[in-house]
Symmetry: C2
Subunit: 264 residues, 2 copies
């Protein structure tokens, strides 16, 4: 199944931009009257019939609409420190898209060697990965921001998990959705780490944010700040994983937890 992407789907008419039109008409040789499939990158699949097939602009009539196409039953934000080698970040992001992720946020931590991270190429890779893996929604890529800013932005979001003894911890006086906030760190801090699988199993949230540190791990101050802001420290099993492998393993754990039992 070949997918096109368009930002211009207006009522019942869909227009492809120059790149997509050229691919549609010159490479795939589509003509007037052909049916094509178009995603809007926000979760909807449109079936369209081509009205005019110029290699500069394809215009098509929308004949079918399927919302939440290729969606997953959770909302996952991965806040991952850039790797020294950008390829490694890109493959994490591509593979995470195939499995199912909603937002990728490059975050700059105390031990990050790379302090600047360009997102243009990453956005193109994720659009391509979304098409290839038949998903209507393309993951959002944020501009890089300081890790502490990201952590603090979750300070007022109530954590959602079941504490020892089975009490559901939620503060109903706070607004905001329940979010399962996790920080994957390599050492024991003040709070004992548990396995990511255990926290997922206990949680009642379907919105998750996961922090993954740089090659040199988080600083102790960053972990302390995260705990203050309601993040739970988790580990990803006994193996020593690179940043990008840890990030993808965390996405896989979430994916298998929420929808591993549903086949394609």
């Amino acid at each position: 199944m070949e997918l096109f992407f368009s930002r211009e789907i207006d009522g019942s008419i869909c227009r492809l931009d120059a790149d997509e039109s050229a691919h549609c008409v010159k490479v795939l040789r589509h003509r007037e009257g052909d049916d094509i499939h178009v995603i809007d990158g926000e979760g909807t699949l449109y079936t369209c019939r081509i009205l005019s097939a110029s290699p500069k602009e394809v215009e098509a009539q929308v004949t079918g609409v399927e919302r939440d196409w290729g969606s997953h039953p959770y909302r996952l934000r991965m806040a991952v420190c850039p790797t020294k080698n950008t390829d490694r970040y890109e493959w994490f992001a591509e593979k995470a898209t195939e499995l199912g992720v909603d937002v990728i946020t490059p975050v700059i931590g105390d031990h990050s060697e790379r302090k600047v991270f360009k997102t243009d190429r990453l956005k193109r890779i994720l659009l391509s990965a979304s098409k290839q893996s038949l998903k209507g929604a393309v993951p959002q890529v944020d501009e890089a921001l300081p890790l502490r800013d990201l952590i603090r932005s979750y300070a007022s979001v109530p954590p959602s998990y079941v504490a020892e003894g089975g009490t559901v911890l939620k503060d109903s006086t706070l607004s905001g959705e329940q979010v399962l906030k996790l920080i994957c760190c390599c050492y024991e801090g003040e709070e004992k780490r548990v396995s990511i699988g255990e926290l997922l199993a206990e949680s009642q949230a379907s919105e998750i944010v996961i922090l993954i540190g740089p090659e040199g791990d988080f600083s102790r101050e960053e972990v302390a700040l995260a705990l203050e802001c309601g993040f739970r420290p988790v580990h990803l099993g006994p193996s020593r994983l690179r940043t990008e492998t840890a990030a993808l393993a965390a996405v896989a754990a979430v994916y298998f937890h929420y929808c591993g039992d549903k086949g394609m």
Copy 2:
């Protein structure tokens, strides 16, 4: 922790080859009397004290031995069809090594576009990944072989799983170890696919072999042969995954199942 690799550990003396010696002496500037850590690639970590530090050959006295160093509590063989782009296979293999895999077997299926697969570069990548992720054992890389030959080689190995109703299916008249034999396929064949997590949870085996098909999936004949030979058809959840992503997701599922609850 910097690791060296040696095939020449004889009683109490360890010798590094020319590459490792150059790295040890020229790059890391180790000298006589320094302690270094050496893996044999078969699971053992040796602590050694350098006796002579030539950039062509380092000779060292073994002072400590740790078996099963960085090991995992399962034995996993991934039989994966080569991807069109070799990079993709290499990153799967690298990431699988970090998580934990024992044998990687490139297999050529009916729909494989790539029929030849060189393993030299892959072996070097896995040695490097094993050192980086602190594992004493380097995964074995087999020479590529026809998928049907691999499937048939498991024909007499008793499957190990619990059937519906809770009966443990094993044929004690057959010799050979219990092996959980899984084929990840994208369509329903004669036997209904279940999730990989479900079969792992039911199984009593700690030895697993998983088949992953090429871009065009397995042929129906290959799936039928695999089922005849005791493989169970599994799915990896609802997402459409590339070959290398499916392979890594399967490794992650096994890793989290067997040891996700144990922290580093």
